[in-house]
Symmetry: C2
Subunit: 249 residues, 2 copies
Amino acid sequence: MKSDRNRSVRLLWEPPAEPTRGPKAALSQSRVVEAAIKVADAEGVDALTMRRVAETLGFTTMSLYRHVPGKSELLDLMVDAVWGETESTPKGPWRDGLDFFARQMWAMYRAHPWMLQLTTSRRMPGPHAMTRQDAAYVAVSELGLRSEEIVAVVTAVAQFVDGVGRTMADRVQAERETGVSEEDWWNGRESLWEHFTPDRLPMMTHIWNTGGFERLLDEFEFGLARVLDGLAVFIEAEERPQVRRGTCL
Amino acid sequence: MKSDRNRSVRLLWEPPAEPTRGPKAALSQSRVVEAAIKVADAEGVDALTMRRVAETLGFTTMSLYRHVPGKSELLDLMVDAVWGETESTPKGPWRDGLDFFARQMWAMYRAHPWMLQLTTSRRMPGPHAMTRQDAAYVAVSELGLRSEEIVAVVTAVAQFVDGVGRTMADRVQAERETGVSEEDWWNGRESLWEHFTPDRLPMMTHIWNTGGFERLLDEFEFGLARVLDGLAVFIEAEERPQVRRGTCL
DNA sequence: ACCTAACTGTGTACTAAGTAAGCAGAGTGT
DNA sequence: ACACTCTGCTTACTTAGTACACAGTTAGGT
């Protein structure tokens, strides 16, 4: 499962030319990728094995390796293929643009929650992902921001959506595994709530008692509005605050 | 690697009593958990195998199973142990509180980036994680927010930190795997930049040319400031906007 | 038209990692 | 002393990624 990132780069950005000799391939890289996406969508990331993908295609496991170098690269290709299904952020006011970008990502993650469960460590940004990101940069390009501020603004939005998406993906996965919805599960664990004594978890018991957990706000809508508000404060400020040099990079 | 969540709950919240009979155990659950954390810290999540943990402890692989039910539950225990190392958010003004909470999480993720690479689907919130979260709720408890708004505010912060943390964890992982720093790697891939033509990626090439990628802002500091600004807009508003009922939960 | 090199799909087999099952020795309560 | 229980170990099974070699297929050079 180790992956040479260089190999992934070439694969994503420089797809090899079709061979001129040899038998015509019954399979193709794109069919493998599509099949893999379908498996992951329908059965979750745990079911995404080379054997399973091959099975759904009606080929042997090893035949896949004629079209993708390995599983890790297959994941790269899957991710970029999904990015390719999203719409590029159109031109317009910055807030509309970022809102659009965030909603596209969110829709993508909702359709393919497995994306957030992959160890992204070795993922390579592919052409589609980059194009979408570029379009988001464009959305904030006319505000007089410095280059690095443009990056930071878009990154902040993307990271927020990643965060919410991950929580969502976890919920989906848990429900798939257990067959029990999140809500039912918590309700069924009364023994757990016994530990939620007011002295250990004062606010949680209070929120629980006042029903706060039963009418949760939409995490995505709430958070996105807050993030955009925060960015608005920054963007519309007379002079933009310097960002403290910190721990990251 | 399947995990019964109920088993994890019991394990985390109701640690079993010490046995009275039989030989005294040379190993213990906490030693296993500690060793596993050390392995994950030092060698990354890929190196975290039962065999490797056992090896560092000088025991056989199977001896671990006398102290933890399986790897999945071990991960739950590791995560909650790490949460136990963090400091609880102290009382004070809401913004200081949330800032503190975010920085604690951030420090935790920086020290243990593997936390963000685990498929959290099956993670169970343990007592320590819950306690910390509760303290964060307390930080915003005196603002006249409705229960569900309290949850939403803290969740927004936590999700942001998760998002940034994940990006950071990916970077760490990539550097460990390749032995090449993120920067060196990008610089070494000139062939990749050839694809960054202005027509395909106009803003990216522009940002690249103006050096925006070379003096990136600190993602955590920048994003946190924006998120807190956005929450401030919400919290200090005369009347709080209703959150549109959306797709989530 | 033939030969050859390139290419495809397949069968077999190896490796790594989680973990089930059963065993031998150790220590406590009757 | 006996029985019960608990610990750590050995062995072996299972799943998943993938290396390797083989057989059949096709296009281009002779």
